[in-house]
Every structure is written in C-alpha cells, then in structure tokens.
C-alpha cells in the first residue's frame, strides 16, 4: 500500500473499470467483496458505512483496487455528461467505462486509426463491449421496470449506433466481429425485456440467485464472459418446468385422462424440446386425445349435418380431421361441404384426395374428387378421376354426364392462359 494520501474525498463515486483483466490480479476476499459493491452509484462514504467491513479496511481495499486499475476513484469532470444517452427519462445506468477511462488511453493497442471506422467510434464500441455482461436493462440504459415504449426508444437509439449496417462494406478489421457481438447483445436485451413472460422468468431466477441479481456488478474475467448468462439460467428453469409438466402428464396417462395428458406433455416438450424422454409419452397421449376429440367432433358434425347446418358441420369436420386426418367418411363430407358451401376448392381437393387415398376403390369418392377438379378448371385431373368413378360404378348417370363434359373441356387449352 502506498503512502497515505491526504485528504481523501469520500464523496467520490467509485466506478468499476471496463477493461481491466481480473485474471491478472489476485484479490483478497475482502477486496472482492468490496468490488462487488462498487456499482457506479454508491459513493465512497456510503461504502464505508456498509455492514461487514471496517471503514479503514474499505479505504485500504479501495486504494488497492484503484492501484490495480480495477476501480476508478476520479471525480467525473462536470462537462462530461454520463456516457450513455439512450435513455434520458430517468437516471441512466452508467456505462462501465466513460470518457477518460482505461480503454481511452491513447495507447490502447486495440485502437487502429487505419481502419474505416473513426477512432472515437472504436472507443465507443470497446467501451460498450466491455459491459456486455451487465444486466439487460443496463445494456439498454433503462430502468429495471421500463415499459415497452421506453425500451424500444433505447433499442432504436443504440441500434443506430451499433448496427453493422452502419459500417456496410467498410474495412473494420477486428471491429466487424465486435460490432456484431455488441448489436446481438443489444437485440437480445430488447427481445427478452420486451417479452413479458421472459421478463418474469428472469425476475424469478434473479431472486433465486441473488449473487447475480440485477444490481450486482460482475466479478469475472474475460475468459468466462457469460458465466452467469441469464439465458443459461432461463434454460435450466425451463428444463425444471418441463420435468414438472412431464410428471403431471405421466400421472394423467396413468389415470387415462388423455386430453389433459396431451396438453401437459405438450407443455413439457415446448419447455425442453431436446429431451428424448418426452417424445414417446407425448406421442401416445396425443394419439389417444386426438381419437377422443375427433370422435366427439364427428358426432357433433354429423348432428349439424342432419339438421342442415352445413357451415357448422363443415367447421366440426375440419376440427375432427385436424385431429385425425385419415377418416374416410369425414373427409368425403368435408370435401363436399368445402366445395358446395365454402367454395374453398383447395381444401375440397385435399379432403377428397385423402378419402380416395385411404379407400381408393369407392366410386363416390372418386366422383367427388373429379367434380372438385372440374370446378377448379383442372379438367385433365377431373377426367382421370371421373373415369375411375364410372368404372367403379357404371350405373352412376350423373358421373357419366360429368365425365362427358369434362372430356370435352380437357381437350381444350386450360383456362386463364391466353
């Protein structure tokens, strides 16, 4: 420790330096603890009042940290505004390194005036990059509870500065990758903070692991930049949730509550898509659930159909087929309804074709498919299907008549051309 300096200015707000290499130095637990309290907002005098350390010890630790270049004890000059201008509505979270800090030493070996990006901008990029591990709201420079308009304003403002398109086709050397990294992090911060459910999960996991909470500064070298990455924690949280849903689903399967089981297992798969254990039970429960629901829908659809409520019947057939696509009768009815009632020939063709695919030798299915093709102006296809229909049921006069017209049309140039 150097000779005692007089007098100490305890009103100074110590700042963590942006790009000191923490692996280079060895800190005592006391120094590390104190460093973890240095957040760019707490003044020296407040740090002395913190519980757990004697004031003299605080002074000694801070001086050591300052000597190592880990903490900066200078009073910011009045004409230098807080570095981040993204959000002005509230007290901005300080950038880890502002003007006059370590990264701005003219001899910073990473600065390269020969590049196609101004040295001042290089400094900005380096300074921002050094703080990429900060909590997301600090990256955007907004309050932890900032609303969507404020988030977006900050995001747009930072994007203008750090989006790679700003330097389109310029020679950037290593800064090309740096700018990508900075922008990706900014976009990630905005994406997660603007998504209410992601935000809730982050808050929950922050409570569970207070050491990495939003206000705590990072004690970590460059080698493990994302050790506490919130994304990783969200991943763990999701996998835990997936396991819970999975267990619920297993119970439901055991009790043969299939619809419920399918829903729970779907959530499990959604939370952890890569888990191979979920696949089989999910498929099994879905299969059962689909069968149950599909049967119910078809009953409802048949009832509507008998009552002449064709639009409602069609809707239910579609629902049923969505659950189980290969039901012949439902496909056939859906095809006729799609064609006659909805005028949706694309859907009609799909249903009719599927009915034929499952039971290829039913005349009436072939006839419907043929009629749908004819309605769509696809006469060659129509002719093929109607020929089949007539072959299968030579007594069907309607099909014969239809085939005759279609043959005539099929010989001509298709519609819609010149």
């Amino acid at each position: 420790m150097g000779p005692r300096r007089e007098p100490e200015d305890y009103s100074v707000v110590p700042q963590a330096s942006a790009d000191c290499d923490l692996e280079r130095v060895t800190l005592t637990p006391a120094e590390a603890f104190l460093l973890s309290r240095v957040d760019g907002r707490t003044s020296w005098s407040l740090l002395r009042e913190l519980g757990g350390m004697a004031a003299e010890e605080v002074d000694a630790c801070l001086r050591r940290l300052a000597e190592e270049g880990i903490v900066i004890l200078e009073t910011p000059k009045a004409e230098e505004p807080p570095p981040r201008a993204a959000a002005t509505a509230h007290e901005p979270a300080p950038r880890p390194a502002g003007p006059g800090r370590l990264s701005q030493r003219p001899d910073d070996p990473r600065l390269d005036p020969s590049l196609d990006i101004p040295v001042a901008a290089q400094r900005e990029v380096l300074a921002f990059e050094a703080g990429l591990d900060r909590p997301y709201h600090e990256i955007l420079g907004v309050a932890p509870d900032a609303g969507l308009p404020e988030l977006r304003r900050a995001y747009f403002s930072l994007s203008k500065e750090f989006h790679p398109d700003r330097y389109f086709r310029r020679e950037l050397g290593p800064f090309a990758e740096r700018i990508q990294r900075v922008f990706r992090r900014i976009a990630e911060a905005f994406e997660l903070l603007s998504d209410p459910s992601a935000r809730k999960e982050m808050e929950r996991s922050a409570e569970a692991a207070p050491a990495a909470g939003p206000a705590a500064p990072r004690l970590r070298g460059r080698s493990t930049p994302h050790a506490f990455s919130l994304l990783a924690r969200i991943g763990r949280e999701r996998r835990r949730k997936a396991r819970q849903y999975f267990e619920l689903g297993q119970t439901s399967i055991a009790e043969e509550r299939w619809v419920e089981a399918a829903q729970q297992l779907r959530l499990a798969v959604a939370c952890d898509p890569a888990n191979p254990d979920f696949k089989e039970p999910f498929a099994e429960a879905t299969e059962h659930a689909n069968r149950l629901l599909s049967d119910r829908y078809i009953k409802e659809a048949d009832a509507s159909y008998e009552l002449g409520e064709y639009a409602a019947a069609y809707k239910r057939y579609v629902d049923a087929l969505h659950r189980r696509p290969f039901q012949v009768e439902a496909n056939h009815r859906a095809a006729r309804l799609a064609w006659r009632i909805e005028g949706d020939l694309k859907a009609a063709k799909e249903y009719a074709a599927r009915a034929c695919e499952v039971e290829p030798d039913v005349a009436i299915h072939r006839k419907t498919l043929g009629q749908v093709y004819a309605a769509a102006g696809l006469y060659k296809n129509a002719q093929r299907e109607l020929e089949q229909a007539v072959k299968l049921d030579p007594r069907d006069e309607e099909a014969k008549l239809e085939l005759k017209t279609t043959r005539r049309m099929a010989r001509r140039t298709p519609l819609g051309g010149c």
């Binding site: 203008k160 989006h163 696949k279 694309k346 010149c418």
Partner: protein, 523 residues
C-alpha cells in the same frame, strides 16, 4: 462511388427508383411509364422483347411470351406451385437439369433466373439512361415468404444482369421504409400488400429513423390475378349463357377476356358500372358474335369478396405473431395495385378499425423503399436504419426426424443462438448436424441447407456428452453453423450457402451466351 438503385421485381410489373440529393425518385422508362411489365417474349422472327413491347404482342404470340416467372423462380419442378402455375400459363414449363422449372420458348430453353435477369437488366437500362452513367449496384425486393433458394436465385439473376445485389429485402419492409422516410413519430404500422401475384402482410414498428420488423406473413396464391380470373370466368359464363359458346378453348379470345377483365376491374375502382365491349370475339354458323355487357361494382365484389376475407385471415395470423392487436396499429398502408379496390379498402379499414393511409403510391412505394435502403447502406450519412428479421425458422434435425428450431422466424438479424444437444447411443463417437429451414416440426418437411459431421466425441453413456450447436446469422443474412463438444473442445462448422438452382458454371455460361448488348433491348 457509382449510383445504386432500388428495384421492385414484381410478378406482373417491375419498378426502379433512385435517391438523388436525398430525395427518392421513381424512374420512368422510355415510354414514360413508371412501371414496366415483367414480361419477356421471343417473337416469330427470333427477336427478343421485354416490358411493354412483350405485353403488346402477347395476344398474337402467347406461347412464346413469359409472365409471372416470379411464381416459378427457385422452386422445384415437382412442387405444387410450379404444377399449378404450369396449368394456368400458355407458355411451356419444363423440368430443368437440377429438377428446377425452366421455360421452353420457341427452340430455346430459359432458366428462371435468366428471365428475371432480363427484366433486371431492363430496369438497370432504364436507370442508366436516366442518370447517364453506368449503374452496377442495386437493392432488390422479394416477397416476405421467399426462402433462401428463391432469394439466392434472385441474386443469381442480378449477377447475370451485371448488377451487384447489395441486399435482398422484403417487399412490405421496403414499403415501410418508404413510408417512414422523413418521419420521426413513433408508430406501429401494418403494410397490407396485395400485388399482382402474391399477398404479403407485415407489422412494423418505427421511430427516429429506425424501422423494426415485428412479423411478416403471406399467401403465395393470392393476388390481383385471382380477381381477374374471377371476372374472366364470370364473363365466359355470361357468354356461354347468352351465346352458347364456351370461349375457354380459344386462346385468343381468352387473352382478350383477360385484358378486358383487368380493365373492368380497374374501372370499377372509380366507377359504379362499366361496359365490357369485345366485338367479334367468336364466330359460329350465325356469323360473328360480340360480347357486350355491363358490369357493376356490386358484381365484382360478390365475385371476389372471399379473396379479401382470405387475406384478412392471414392478417390475423401476422398480428398474433407480432403480439399486436388491430387497435394498437397506428397506421395501415396499402401497397399493390389491387388495393385500389374500394371494397377491399373498406374491409381492411373495418378489420383494423381505421382508414388506410393514402399518402403512398401503391405501385411505386416498394421500389422507393429499396432505393432508400440502397442509399442507407452506401451513403456516409446514416439517417435510416432497417432492423430486418429472418423470414423462416432455422434449426437442426434431431433424433426421430424432428426439427429443433434454434432461431425462430421473425428474429432480428444479426443474431446468434445456441443450444446443447447430446448423443442417443452409448459411446457414440460422432453426430451429424443437418441444418434445416422451415416451419414444420417434421425435419423432412423443411428445406435442407447443409450438413456436416462432428466426430471424435469422447466416449460416454448416451445423454452425457454436451454438444453445443450455435447458429450465427450476420446482417447480410449469411448463416454460419458450428457444433462443439464441450468435453474435448472439438469444433466443426460450416457456412451455409443457400442452394441455388444454377451452378456457378451455369451462371457463367449464361453470362457468356448473353453478352450485355445481346439482351439490351430497344423500346
């Protein structure tokens, strides 16, 4: 630095714009038109025609006149889209050597990028005549749903046309850039783009010169041509009822009907009733027959209202993706000629609960946006920034033929995402990473972009190894995929080149066969 232009390469019409002294200008062609038909023809005497010239002779030379090539570009010959289009067009669509769709005109086969290149070169020529200097760089727009192959084919077309394509951007996004130019308000906007062949909807957020895409959606088979086809069918049915003649077998009559239908549709945007008069459209034992009928706006609406509802269903899906409700949309902008239809405007207004914005020209706005993006990329002064998204989800095939998405569609680029995967067998030594693009959960239903093997994994019980697969997309949309065994640090990676339907040699051959002056066409 030379001039950079923006080109809207449309299904039916194309348009070119440039930014001069900070102001975007749409460049008219030699005939004074601000849009040029995306048509190409080989005449009987072997002359090549493009644009208005090609359109004018389409009636008499329909089998050698190409339109709507955008529906075919970058698609497999066997795909539903190509088959459907082939049934509707009079020219011949054939299978190419790479299973792509190609066109047979008279005795020559053309690839789709070649035809697109002819249109692009025409637009380039229009621009060069206007600025009086060579133009060799452009931003070109494509529909939002175009996949990587279709985008790559569009880039190839640029190469053949002697244009370096700085960036491919989505049409609705370009429209938003044009709308956002010179505005600083914070707004959420919807771009409803119903063009000749396709429908696109995009929700965007803008403010302070930044445009952020929230979501996009679309329908490849919904466009102004579908409205025309309804009118053609209607006219033909009317003629059949009154004259007992079915015109569908008569190619020339159908082309006249098609032209008349398009004109009637446009007329009915400003009038309640229009007359369709096609003398001598057919002849039979009674002598020449004429088609002369009045059509009202009501008739047109009842023929086509379901097409409008279809588009609104797509809008709903898009709003869901953007997590935006109709009342949160501050402004609705209509793009594409078909949006001039009053009934459509009313329906859209009802859906969003507000009158659509009238301040942009629906035919030109996309080209203007492309020119603004070209300017924003190349100029020193950056006052416009587009935060674009990846249009389709990206991921890898996993055990059991499933598709694990690492980057969801509509994610802002550049982006990097990683996920931990593992082995499925004890002591498994290598894994195959198959990179896919698409929305289906079933791996086989998505497009394969590339694959590689990571070997030398440390022997371990199944499920133990941690293999980190990372996807990286840069601002130009180039995708890099890496896989890393966390136990050994072994890593393997590829840069995914979207599959084109043309090889580099083929592109070179086409360029050599068609030197610039051979394609340069007089109007």
């Amino acid at each position: 630095m030379g001039h950079v232009i923006g080109i809207d390469l449309g299904t039916t019409n194309s348009c070119v714009a440039i930014v001069e002294n900070g102001q975007p200008t749409v460049i008219p062609n030699a005939g004074g038109y601000k849009t040029t038909p995306s048509m190409f023809a080989v005449s009987d005497d072997g002359k090549r025609l493009v644009g208005h010239l090609a359109k004018r002779q389409a009636i008499t030379n329909c089998t050698s006149t190409v339109y709507g090539v955008k529906r075919l570009i970058g698609r497999r010959f066997d795909s539903e889209e190509v088959q459907k289009t082939a049934e509707l067009v009079p020219y011949e669509v054939i299978r190419g050597s790479n299973d792509d769709a190609r066109l047979q005109l008279a005795d020559k086969t053309f690839t789709c990028p070649e035809i697109a290149a002819i249109i692009l070169r025409e637009m380039k020529r229009v621009a060069q005549e206007y600025v009086g200097e060579p133009v060799d760089e452009a931003v070109v727009t494509v529909p939002a749903y175009f996949n990587d192959t279709q985008r790559q084919c569009t880039k190839d077309a640029g190469k053949i046309a002697g244009l370096e394509i700085l960036r491919i951007i989505n049409e609705p996004t370009a429209a938003a850039l044009a709308y956002g130019f010179g505005r600083s308000e914070e707004e959420t906007i919807a771009i409803y783009d119903l063009g000749g062949g396709t429908f696109d909807i995009s929700i965007l957020s803008m403010g302070d010169g930044v445009v952020e895409v929230l979501s996009t959606n679309g329908n490849t088979f919904l466009g102004g041509e579908d409205f025309d086809r309804r009118v053609v069918d209607h006219l033909n049915a009317w003629f059949l009822d009154n004259e007992a003649i079915d015109l569908r077998g008569d190619a020339m009559a159908m082309q006249r009907l098609k032209d008349a239908a398009e004109k009637a549709k446009c007329d009915l945007s400003s009038r309640d009733v229009t007359e369709i008069n096609l003398p001598f459209i057919a002849t039979d034992e009674r002598g020449p027959r004429h088609l002369n009928v009045e059509m009202t706006r009501d008739t047109l609406e009842s023929l086509s209202h379901d097409l409008v509802s279809q588009s609104l269903k797509t809008c709903e899906a898009c709003m869901r993706d953007a997590k935006v409700t109709p009342d949160q949309v501050d402004r609705v902008i209509l793009v594409g000629g078909q949006t001039r239809m009053p009934f459509l405007q009313t329906a859209v207004a009802e859906f969003f609960g507000k009158r659509p914005h009238k301040g942009v020209n629906p035919d030109e706005v996309v080209a203007v946006g492309a020119a603004l993006q070209a300017q924003a990329l190349t100029a020193d002064q950056k006052d416009l920034l587009l935060l674009d998204v990846t249009p389709l989800s990206l991921g890898i095939a996993t055990f059991g033929g499933r598709f694990a998405k690492l980057i969801e569609r509509n994610t802002t680029v550049p982006v990097r995402r990683s996920h931990i995967f593992t082995t499925t067998r004890d002591d498994q030594r290598d894994v195959k990473v198959r990179v896919l693009q698409g929305e289906s959960d079933v791996a086989a239903e998505n497009d394969l972009l590339g694959e590689f093997v990571l070997s030398g994994i440390k022997p371990a019980p199944k499920g133990d190894p941690e293999i980190e697969v990372a996807f990286d997309i840069d601002a130009n949309g180039i995708v890099n995929v890496s896989a890393r065994d966390n136990a050994t640090g072994l890593e393997q990676s590829i840069t995914v080149n979207a599959a084109s339907t043309l090889s580099d040699e083929e592109i070179q051959r086409i360029i050599e066969e068609n030197p610039p002056d051979a394609i340069a066409l007089k109007v």
